[in-house]
C-alpha cells in the first residue's frame, strides 16, 4: 500500500512539474465474476464467490525517459482457472525505467521482448490467459546502423509476484542484407540468437546449471513471394514432470519453423511448417509443462486457425513440445503444418456481386513425433517427419458476402479431428480420435443511424464425446456504444445441458464495460494458440477497461 502511494506521489509530482511536454499513459482493467450455485450444471460455487483480477498500469514519458508500473490485485480471489500463485495476492507486478536516444534503447526493471519467432525467447503478457513472464533485469537495444541491431537481455522471469530461480541471458542480432548492400530487387535479412539459463544445481553434479540454446533465421521477400526459416538447438537438460525430475538422463532439443507465402492483390496464401522435439524451455527446470504456463522462456503456441465461434472452439489444439517417457505416456514433440488461403472474388463478377465475395480457408495437420521409446532406459529415437500419431486435423472454409448496403452474411464450415487427450488432458492415443463437423451461418442487418442486429446459428455433428450441439447468438447494437446479446449452446446429443448467457456492453471513448450472466462451458480457453483450462461454472461477470 505504501509502495503504491509512493509511486503515485512520485509520478504525480512529475506530472505537476513537467511543463515541457511530459505525459501520462496507461490503463485500468478489471475482470470480475460472481459465481452462483447451479444444480443443472452440478456446479457448487466455491467459498470465494466473488473473484476479481485487476490491473492498473501507469506510464510517464518525459523526453527520452519513460517510466511505468503495473499494480495488480487478485482479491479476494483470482478468477477460476488462473495460476494459484496469484490467488488472494496484490502488489506491484511490474515496473521499469526506459531511456531511448538515437541508437540506444535501455530498460531496467521489467520488460517484454522476443527474439525471432519467439521460439527461443518471448516474454509477454496475456491477461485472459493469466500469463505474464516479463523479464526483470536489464535490456539493451543497440542500433548502430539502419540495417543492423543488437538486443541483449539479462534477468529473471516473473513468476506471480516473485521471480524465477533461474537467470536468463540472451543476445539477438539482426542484419538487413538488402539494405546493407543496397539490393532493391529482393529483401533479405538474417538473424542470430543465443539464450542461456543459469540455475544452481546444488550438490547434484549430474544436473547442468547452464543450459544454452542457439538459433539462426533467414527471411526474404521476392516480388509476390515471401518466406523464412528459423532453427533452434537447445543444449542438454533434464526433463521434469509435475515439479519432479523424471529421468536421470539429459536430453537436447530442437525447433524448426519454415514459412512460405504468396500475396498479390486479391489473393494471399501462407504456409507454415514446424517441428518441435523436446523443446520446452522454462526459467526454472522444474516448471516444465506446468498447466498455468508460468515461467516460460520459449514460445511454442499451437499453429492452427484461431476459431471464432462458440461451437468451433470446443475441439481445439494445444501444442505438444515436450518429451515424456513414462510407461503410461510417451511423447517426443510434434510436427505439422498449416496453410491459410485468402481470396477475394472481384466486384462485378457473377460470384462477386456488387461488393465482391471474400473467401478464407485453413488447413492444419499436427502429429506427434514418430519415435521409438526405450522406457526402461528412458531413451528414445525420433524420425524427422515419419508417421507419428495424428493429434489434430482441421479444415475450415469461410465465405463472406455483403449482399447490399444493409445485409451481410458469413458462412463457415469446419471439419476437425482431434485426439481426446488434447481436449481433456491425460495420455494421448488412448482412445479413437474425436471427429466433428461444424456449420455456422451468420447474418448482419444494418438499420439507419448505426443500429444493427446480428444472428448466428451453429450446429456441430459428432459421433463420440458429447455428440451433437446446436447454438445461436442474437445481438442488437443500439449504436456504436451500446450492445446487448443473448446466446445459447445446447448439447442435445448427450448431456442435454444448455449453456446460456445474456449480456451487454457499453463503450465510450476511453472506457468500456461489459456485463454478462450465464453458464460457461468448461474446457480449454485458447488465446493466440496458448490455452488454459477453465472449469464449468455459472455466474455474473463484469469487465471494465479504461485507457488514458
Amino acid at each position: 500500500m505504501k509502495k503504491i502511494i509512493l509511486c503515485v506521489a512520485i509520478l504525480y509530482s512529475g506530472f505537476t512539474f513537467a511543463q515541457d511536454g511530459g505525459y501520462f499513459f496507461g490503463g485500468f482493467e478489471s475482470n470480475s465474476q460472481w459465481l452462483l450455485d447451479d444444480e443443472g450444471l452440478n456446479f457448487i460455487a466455491p467459498e470465494d464467490q466473488f473473484r476479481s483480477n485487476n490491473y492498473f498500469r501507469l506510464d510517464y514519458n518525459l523526453g527520452k525517459f519513460t517510466a511505468g508500473a503495473q499494480y495488480e490485485t487478485y482479491l479476494p480471489a483470482a478468477l477460476l482457472g488462473y495460476a494459484p500463485i496469484y490467488n488472494g495476492n496484490n502488489g506491484i507486478g511490474t515496473y521499469y525505467l526506459n531511456f531511448k536516444h538515437k541508437t540506444l534503447d535501455l530498460t531496467a526493471g521489467y520488460f517484454y521482448e522476443q527474439f525471432g519467432n519467439g521460439l527461443i525467447l518471448r516474454s509477454f503478457e496475456d491477461r485472459q490467459l493469466g500469463i505474464n513472464n516479463a523479464m526483470k533485469g536489464v535490456r539493451v537495444i543497440f542500433t548502430p546502423l539502419d540495417y543492423l541491431n543488437f538486443t541483449g537481455v539479462y534477468g529473471k522471469t516473473r513468476n506471480g509476484f516473485d521471480v524465477s530461480e533461474g537467470i536468463t541471458q540472451g543476445i539477438d542480432a539482426n542484419l538487413d542484407i538488402s539494405e546493407a548492400l543496397k539490393i532493391e530487387e529482393i529483401e533479405l535479412s538474417i538473424g542470430a540468437s543465443y539464450v542461456g539459463r543459469y540455475q544452481s544445481s546444488g550438490t547434484n553434479d549430474s544436473i547442468p546449471s547452464n543450459v544454452n540454446a542457439y538459433g539462426g533465421r533467414f527471411n526474404f521477400v521476392a516480388g509476390d513471394f515471401y518466406g523464412g526459416i528459423e532453427a533452434i538447438a537447445k543444449g542438454p537438460d533434464v526433463i521434469a514432470n509435475e515439479g519432479q525430475i523424471s529421468s536421470n538422463k539429459l536430453y537436447d532439443g530442437t525447433a524448426m519453423q519454415v514459412d512460405l507465402g504468396y500475396a498479390r492483390k486479391g489473393l494471399g496464401v501462407n504456409a507454415t511448417f514446424r517441428r518441435l522435439e523436446n523443446f520446452s524451455f522454462y526459467a526454472d527446470r522444474l516448471a516444465e509443462g506446468n498447466v498455468y504456463n508460468q515461467e516460460l522462456i520459449s514460445y511454442t503456441p499451437a499453429l492452427t486457425k484461431q476459431q471464432d465461434y462458440m461451437l468451433t472452439n470446443i475441439y481445439v489444439y494445444n501444442a505438444q513440445p515436450r518429451l515424456i517417457i513414462e510407461s503410461y505416456d510417451q511423447r517426443a514433440g510434434e510436427v505439422g503444418a498449416q496453410v491459410d488461403l485468402y481470396y477475394k472474388i472481384k466486384n462485378g463478377t457473377a460470384l462477386g456481386g456488387k461488393y465482391g465475395t471474400k473467401v478464407a480457408g485453413n488447413f492444419s495437420y499436427w502429429a506427434g513425433l514418430d519415435a521409438e521409446y526405450n522406457i526402461e532406459n528412458r531413451w528414445y529415437e525420433a524420425k524427422f517427419i515419419g508417421k507419428g500419431p495424428k493429434l489434430f486435423r482441421d479444415l475450415s472454409i469461410e465465405v463472406k458476402k455483403k449482399l447490399s448496403k444493409k445485409w451481410s452474411t458469413v458462412a463457415t464450415f469446419q471439419n476437425v479431428i482431434v485426439d481426446k487427450g488434447i481436449v481433456y488432458g491425460g495420455a494421448l492415443e488412448d482412445e479413437e480420435n474425436i471427429k466433428a463437423s461444424i456449420a455456422v451461418l451468420e447474418g448482419t442487418y444494418k438499420f439507419e443511424g448505426s443500429k444493427s442486429t446480428r444472428l448466428v446459428l451453429q450446429h456441430l455433428w459428432a459421433e463420440k464425446d458429447r455428440k451433437n450441439w446446436v447454438a445461436g447468438v442474437l445481438e442488437y447494437n443500439f449504436n456504436s456504444n451500446f450492445a446487448l446479446y443473448i446466446a445459447d449452446n445446447w448439447n442435445y446429443g448427450d448431456t442435454d445441458i444448455h449453456y446460456y448467457s445474456v449480456g451487454g456492453s457499453y463503450s465510450k471513448g476511453r472506457t468500456r464495460l461489459g456485463v454478462n450472466y450465464g453458464r460457461q462451458r468448461g474446457g480449454l480457453i485458447c488465446v493466440g494458440g496458448v490455452c488454459r483450462y477453465v472449469p464449468e461454472n455459472t455466474g455474473v461477470t463484469a469487465n471494465l477497461t479504461v485507457s488514458f
Partner: protein, 165 residues
C-alpha cells in the same frame, strides 16, 4: 475497499489529464523496416490508426466495412487509414496474405511486440483512433456494424474544420 477508492480517484485524475499525444514507439513496416509511429502519422490530412489482428473478428469486420467505402472517404476528406497489426510472432506471417486476400488499400504496420498497444493502453482490439495535427482527437474500442458511419461523420466534421482555417 480503500484500494478501490484509491484506484478510482486515480482513474479520475488521470482521465482528466489523459494524454492525447502519440507515443514515441518504433514499429515495423510489412517488409521489416523500422518506423516510428509519430513519423507514420505525421500527415497534413486526418489519419485513422486502427489496431487490429488477423485473429480478431470485429477488427476484420471493421476494416472490411471501411474498405468498401474507403475510396469515397479519401476523395471527400483525404483521410488515410493506417492498420497496425498487433499479431504476435504466431500469426504475424498471415498478415501479408490476409491484407492482400482481402484487397485492402491501407498502409499496414506491425506491432509484433505490442509496444504500441501497451503505450495506447489498449487492453483489447479493435482500437480505432483519429489523429489530427499529431494529436489524438478521438478513440473508440470495439466494433459494431454501422459504427464506421459514426466515425465518418466525425471525420467530415473535423476535416471541414481544418478547411475553414
Amino acid at each position: 475497499m480503500k484500494k478501490l477508492v484509491l484506484i478510482f480517484s486515480l482513474l479520475l485524475i488521470f482521465n482528466i489529464n489523459a494524454q492525447d499525444n502519440i507515443p514515441n514507439i518504433d514499429i515495423k513496416t510489412i517488409d521489416g523496416k523500422t518506423l516510428n509511429i509519430q513519423e507514420a502519422t505525421n500527415k497534413d490530412n486526418l489519419v485513422i490508426v486502427s489496431l487490429w489482428a488477423t485473429w480478431c473478428v470485429p477488427c476484420i469486420k471493421e476494416l472490411d466495412a471501411i474498405s468498401d467505402v474507403y475510396d469515397e472517404w479519401q476523395e471527400e476528406t483525404g483521410v488515410e487509414l493506417i492498420a497496425v497489426s498487433v499479431d504476435d510472432s504466431r500469426t504475424v506471417k498471415r498478415v501479408k496474405a490476409l491484407i492482400n486476400g482481402k484487397g485492402w488499400d491501407y498502409q499496414v504496420l506491425l506491432d509484433t511486440n505490442n509496444d504500441l498497444k501497451r503505450a495506447l493502453g489498449a487492453s483489447t482490439v479493435p482500437l480505432t483512433i483519429l489523429i489530427k495535427d499529431n494529436k489524438i482527437v478521438s478513440r473508440h474500442s470495439g466494433y459494431s456494424p454501422g459504427s464506421e458511419d459514426e466515425l465518418y461523420e466525425k471525420i467530415k466534421e473535423l476535416s471541414s474544420e481544418s478547411n475553414l482555417k
